[in-house]
Amino acid sequence: MSHWIIAPVLLPAIIAGLLVLSMRHHLGLQRVFSLGGAGVLVAIAMGLAAQAASGAVGVYELGGWPAPFGIVLVLDRLSALMVLLTTVLAVAVLLYAIGANWDARGAHFHALYHFQLMGILGAFLTGDLFNLFVFFEVLLIASYGLVIHAGGARRMRAGVQYVVYNLLGSTLFLFALGTLYGVTGTLNMADMAERVAAIPTEDTALLRVGAVLLLSVFAVKAAILPLHFWLPETYAAAPAPVAALFAIMTKVGAYAILRVDTLIFGPDVTATAGILSGLLLFTALITLAVGMIGILGADGLGRLAAFATVGSVGTLLAGLALFTPETTVAALYYTIHSTLAGALLFLVVDMVRERRGAAGDALVSAPPIAAGGMIAALWFGAAIATAGMPPLSGFVGKLLILDAVRGDDWMWLIWTVVLASSLLAILGLAQAGSQIFWKTTEPAQVAGDAPAEAPPPLALPAVAAFTLIGAIVGLTVFAAPVVAYLEATAGQLYDPSDYIAAVLGPEAPEIPPAPDGTGEGAPTASAAPQDEGGA
């Protein structure tokens, strides 16, 4: 049993604790430790990805308790991929936060940032549904602090909306877990997969309720219409590095949908087959349309970037919703791309906002900004990536999705929506870019108060932005190996027997027949550890 699987959860927790306890007054030290920790996380994530690439499913039993009774962390190709993506994004965004001085505008930025990472990485690694809930709460409570970082009335009010919305989501999650536990008597995902498959079809009414409840919880996290209302205002009001890190948050929801609906409620489970993908496909397409219309209609760059996030989630879920290996490969490729592109867009928007003074990110004419040429070039790159135009990986991702849905009954609808919404996105992004960078007023107008605010430093933020662009270019150039890895990932996802065998042990665990009266599956949870102890 490799102990490295717990490292992506443990390391940020230790670093966050250290940051808040022993160096809360030393911003310089905080930066060194925070960035160093994020760098080590990338190295660990690479190691884990190399380990998972062989196809072996790594299992870490917390506290040494065997699988259905204790909590397990599971490392397969999908979770390794998401962990690696998160850590790479985290380093780039952290560079930006340090370079643009965002971490100095309020207390405990770095500590909250690492707690947030701990929650996200834990959510990707866990193999237990209740543990997934706990990691969701960890990442949410850290995000509550990050959203209102640096304060301000607008941020506070957007933060309250965000918190209340997510508290409702958490409540719904608990209702879903209670229902599923009542039906199956377990919370371990692999164990639940086996029991769901064994439930006779006529007894599955509650199971279906639980499955749909769970899907709606993840839909809240992924911001799928009509549960997306928390996202645009929150992301537009949040500090830029936080919004950029949140690019991975909606993907946590998408990941959870993919994990649960391939492992537990897979395409072979007759009780839930059809309900989930049917619900998901149409909501995803509407989400995509609304996101791209939002890009066209946004009155500020912040909202524009937020709606781009909504649209990207719609695109990847439209790919996911058919639940075939080919569409999953395409959706996963688009997930990697849209996370990087979404973060890049938020960072570029912030560069513009920081330099426009009173005009902020509003789409109105204002004096030209300092270092406008390079920022405009970055905007151009981010816009191409977001809209999915060649030569960057957004184009490859959309092409993969369009290709994967060929032959499906709904192909005409998916093609129409994806292509038309891409056009809308191009229009919106081009319009916003030309408004910001070309339709400027005379610079002489503000010459009087120009010395008062020196332009913020650009060196480190530019490094961060170019890291992300480099990653996107790398994703484009190495599309073939990436797709090969994703094909192996999808193969693993749609044949969960390896996963279940790795978690529950080679031989199927003996489930004693349920006694009459209380509990059906539940007794095993308390009975078996005793047997272990006695043996």
């Binding site: 706990v134 709460e137 409570i141 509550y144 006694p515 539940a522 007794p523």
Partner: protein, 118 residues
């Protein structure tokens, strides 16, 4: 017994949802608190309702089925702690939002903004 618990959960959930849909943050926070009570009781019932039975197995409780499922109790404990912490956070944030913008309305934009201006 089952009926009573079910009615209690239903009433608390309905009241919670009604309060959350109000447009001011204070009722919304009360509503979230009520919802978390409802879900905690609901989690209890997911392990079946068992009266006067021990959650710990010492003798032949497993064979006779005379024990209470201990797992939901652990889940509820976790859920209570988390919802308690979350409620504290949202109260603080709501207070901060009220003090900085002088309005308790939870929607952003439109009349709330004009109402807020001194």
């Amino acid at each position: 017994m089952e009926l009573l618990v079910a009615i209690a959960i239903g009433v608390m959930t309905a009241a919670g949802i009604y309060l959350v849909l109000r447009q001011r943050t204070f009722p919304a926070i009360l509503g979230v608190a009520l919802l978390s009570y409802a879900v905690n009781v609901f989690l209890f019932t997911s392990g079946r309702l068992a009266l006067d039975m021990p959650p710990v197995l010492v003798g032949d409780e497993y064979a006779t089925g005379t024990y209470a499922d201990p797992l939901p109790q652990a889940l509820v404990l976790t859920a209570i702690v988390i919802s308690f912490g979350m409620t504290a956070v949202v109260v603080l944030m709501a207070l901060g939002a009220y003090l900085s913008s002088r309005t308790d309305r939870s929607d952003i934009g439109g009349e709330a903004e004009s109402e807020a201006r001194p």
